[in-house]
């Protein structure tokens, strides 16, 4: 894996605004390319005793799609985000409480789930909940010719034979969550893993800039 | 039934009464309480009937719709029962409270009317395989005074007897669809042959005795109750003498409450159920014929709830 060709890509332009909603503890709106997602986090809440958990906070994720009608794939996305956040948040610091993450999909031009995960992470940062590590999601697509495209645009995804999404944590850059569509070889999978891991640094830098720019507002 | 609180002393009072065949309201074990029946109470329905059995009050309406028959039964129409427990009866029926009781009664009726010897669905067919009548029988329970099944089955039979189905001439156009001409004169309609429609009789066992038509109090202290559906005798429902009287058959049996019953006691119950249904059938036939002759098709001034 030659070092420099890891760097010869650029991610879709990311625009973000923190503290977008005043009623929620933490909120963020993120546009990655044309895909736009709004996430609101309501930090440690008092929930009814039957759904309380002794050791850690119970995490509840509500994903509402643009169309409004609940479908089975919404539940799948909810589960992906819940499991990712379960590992990221220090649940044991808030026992017997509830944390609700509400996600509203505004625009979907491909790569919806990585944008949702990044936006959720930004909202969690904004909400001040203690977190083990920050997560960054990067997607990549394998087109017919066999070469990998990082952070593909919508029409690249349509024509791709396979697409892969990876979520890395900021500390050891391990794979926290991943899912894929289409078929691909084992070698392609390893190469995609490496290149997305490199690309995730860019996302982490983006987080630092955003939080820095908001520091004086909060500080 | 709902909110009925009985102390043990009252229960024993009722049990002892039943043993001596002399119940708390003076009836013997095999007597029915006085009933009031009135048909054609709702003008917007094809047929309706209201029955008051002491303080049980039931209103039944039959509405008709044109429908395509099911593919495996091309020559038959269809009948559907819907029971609605109005909250007027008890606060427990508010919202979805009365659903379990409603489902039980509608299942019972659906099974009782299932056999073609009980209610022949052929008479509902307009054009084989293409068009047929669908009867919606809506039952509204306004007050529960015990013995709901009997009151409902009597009211349903009366409502079906009162139903008028407009004459429809169906012609097969080319391309397979049907053109229906409905006669414009509202009174130009035919009646349903409802003579064999079944009547449900609830027999409740109190240790060794079987009682009929339990009041709400008696219903709370019975162990097991058996509902027997018995088909009617068509001769009672037509003034013309040519219809052959068919014997009474059991169209459905169902048990409820948690208790067992010895086999030979069960045979007695079935025999008693059939005799009780026979005399109910005669009484119903007499009153319906009497009312039809008196009103001969015009719509009389309906008392409804104003009496």
């Amino acid at each position: 894996m030659v070092e420099e060709d890891l760097k010869d890509f650029k991610l879709k332009p990311m625009k973000c605004e923190l503290n977008f909603l005043n009623k929620s503890d933490g909120s963020a709106i993120l546009a990655q390319g044309e895909t736009v997602v709004l996430v609101s986090v309501n930090g440690p809440l008092d929930i009814k005793s039957t759904s309380q958990n002794m050791e850690k906070a119970t995490l509840e994720v509500i994903f509402s799609s643009k169309g409004g009608k609940p479908t089975v794939s919404d539940r799948f996305k909810e589960n992906v985000i819940r499991q990712t956040c379960e590992t990221a948040i220090f649940g044991c610091l808030y026992p017997r409480t509830g944390i609700t993450i509400t996600i509203q999909e505004l625009e979907d031009y491909g790569g919806l789930l990585p944008t949702t995960i990044n936006c959720t992470c930004l909202a969690l940062l904004n909400s001040g909940l203690a977190m083990r590590h920050v997560v960054a999601a990067v997607g990549c697509a394998l087109d017919e010719a066999g070469n990998l495209i990082i952070d593909p645009t919508n029409d690249q995804i349509q024509t791709a034979t396979a697409t892969m999404y990876f979520v890395f944590d900021s500390r050891e850059k391990n794979l926290v969550t991943g899912f894929s569509t289409g078929t691909f070889g084992e070698g392609v999978y390893d190469e995609a893993l490496e290149r997305c891991r490199a690309a995730s640094d860019l996302v982490f830098n983006f987080y630092r800039d955003i939080v820095a720019s908001y520091c004086n507002v909060i500080g | 039934m709902a909110g009925m609180l009985l102390s043990n002393a009252e229960r024993f009072y009722i049990w002892d009464g039943v043993e001596e065949n002399f119940r708390s309201d003076g009836r013997s074990n095999k007597d029915y309480r006085p009933m009031e029946l009135e048909t054609d109470v709702v003008s917007s329905a094809s047929g309706s009937a209201r029955l008051r059995l002491a303080n049980t009050d039931v209103l039944v309406c039959v509405k008709t719709e044109i429908d395509t028959p099911k593919s495996d039964k091309p020559g038959l129409g269809s009948i559907e029962f819907f029971v609605d427990c109005s909250a007027n009866a008890t606060p427990e029926f508010e919202g979805r409270g009365g659903e379990q009781l409603a489902n039980r009664i509608s299942n019972l009726l659906q099974r009782a009317y299932h056999s073609s010897q009980a209610f022949n669905l052929k008479q509902l067919c307009i054009f084989e395989g293409k068009q047929c009548w669908k009867l919606y029988v809506d039952i509204l329970i306004l007050e529960c005074g015990g013995n709901l099944c009997d009151a409902v089955s009597l009211a349903v039979k009366a409502a079906l007897f009162n139903t008028r189905i407009p004459f429809v001439k169906a012609a097969l156009m080319d391309g397979g669809n049907i053109d229906l001409q409905l006669s414009d004169d509202p009174f130009d309609s035919k009646r349903l042959e409802v003579g064999t429609a079944p009547l449900l009789v609830t027999l409740c066992r109190m240790d060794e005795e079987n009682i009929v038509d339990p009041t709400a109090e008696e219903e709370t202290c019975i162990a097991v109750s058996i509902v027997v559906g018995v088909s009617g005798n068509p001769a009672l429902y037509t003034s013309s003498e040519d219809t052959t009287p068919s014997d009474h058959k059991c169209t459905t049996i169902s048990m409820s409450g948690n208790g067992g019953i010895l086999p030979d006691a069960m045979k007695i119950v079935i025999a008693e159920g059939i005799t009780a249904a026979k005399c109910l059938d005669e009484a119903l036939g007499r009153t319906l014929l009497q009312e039809r002759n008196r009103t001969n098709l015009q719509k009389k001034d309906s008392y409804g709830f104003l009496k």
Partner: protein, 280 residues
């Protein structure tokens, strides 16, 4: 022993892992015993039942005819539904499917679509007029972990043993005649096999456990947090990792190889089962 497991589940589990053995005596990458039989239900057009360890799943396929969708005139329908019945474990309540059931349902559907083992065009009889609808209903009778592997295995066995009756469709009169005794088998390309893992975060290192039981799933982050790798004839047709503990790159590679071996054994099991089914 039982009381220890109930009182101190985490400690009980940790003691076992630290001694490199799992509570039910298996090694980390050892598969539970699998029993598979085909065509157990003869009212279904094709059916199969799998019992891997204490998880048993039955799959039945029923065939129906319908007019294809306007936007895809020459595509048939493939409708798979996974039902986690209330009778399979006290975790599932009666009533509409729970969130977890819908997640499993979605995952199985995605894997089937990704593997492209059924081409919807084969299901079309007359374009824009008539097409087959394959209702694959998967019911879980006993739930003890790694439900996705069992569902996929029964689904593939049933699809491989399915044969479609011959249909004669008369264009003008739109008459449909079905000849039940001439049946031609459905073309199934490839055989996707899913292997689910659970990663246990022990204090010193993270360990991956293959084919987890429901107790092991609970110990490693609830029943949603597992990793599903599926191979299809040497090609990866889907890697789904839902959170849970993380794994280094070399651990990841070892995982893929273990999954590859397992997919070979499962393919053998399915093929032998179909072989002695057809030979009967």
């Amino acid at each position: 022993m039982e009381e220890y497991k109930v009182l101190q589940p985490f400690k009980y589990f940790n003691d076992h892992i630290s001694v490199n053995v799992r509570p039910d005596g298996r090694k980390f990458d050892q598969q539970r015993s699998i029993k598979l039989n085909a065509n157990s239900v003869n009212t279904a057009d094709a059916s199969s039942l799998i019992k891997c360890g204490k998880t048993s799943v039955v799959c039945g396929i029923s065939l129906e005819l319908a007019t294809p969708k306007a936007e895809e005139p020459d595509n048939g329908f493939l409708v798979t539904n996974v039902e986690l019945l209330p009778l399979c474990s006290s975790k599932f309540k009666p009533g509409p499917p729970s969130d977890y059931a819908q997640v499993v349902n979605n995952t199985v559907n995605d894997i089937l679509k990704n593997s492209k083992c059924i081409d919807l065009k084969d299901l079309c009889i007359v374009s824009d007029k008539l097409a087959w609808v394959l209702y694959c209903d998967i019911a879980c009778l006993e739930y003890d972990g790694s439900i996705i592997d069992a569902c996929l295995a029964t689904l593939m066995t049933s699809l491989k043993t399915l044969s479609l009756p011959h249909v004669i469709y008369d264009i003008e009169t739109e008459e449909i005649k079905v000849d039940v005794n001439i049946r031609h088998p459905l073309k199934v390309t490839g055989l996707p096999v899913a292997t689910s893992f659970v990663i246990y975060q022990s204090p010193d290192s993270n360990v991956a456990l293959m084919d987890p039981t429901s107790f092991e799933e609970e110990m490693c982050g609830g029943n949603g947090a597992n990793l599903v790798v599926c191979w299809n004839q040497g090609l990866l047709c889907g890697i789904h990792k839902f959170g849970g503990a993380t794994l280094g790159t070399d651990g990841h590679k070892k995982l893929l190889n273990v999954a590859k071996e397992r997919s070979k054994t499962i393919e053998e099991v399915i093929n032998t089962c179909i072989a002695n089914e057809t030979s009967e």
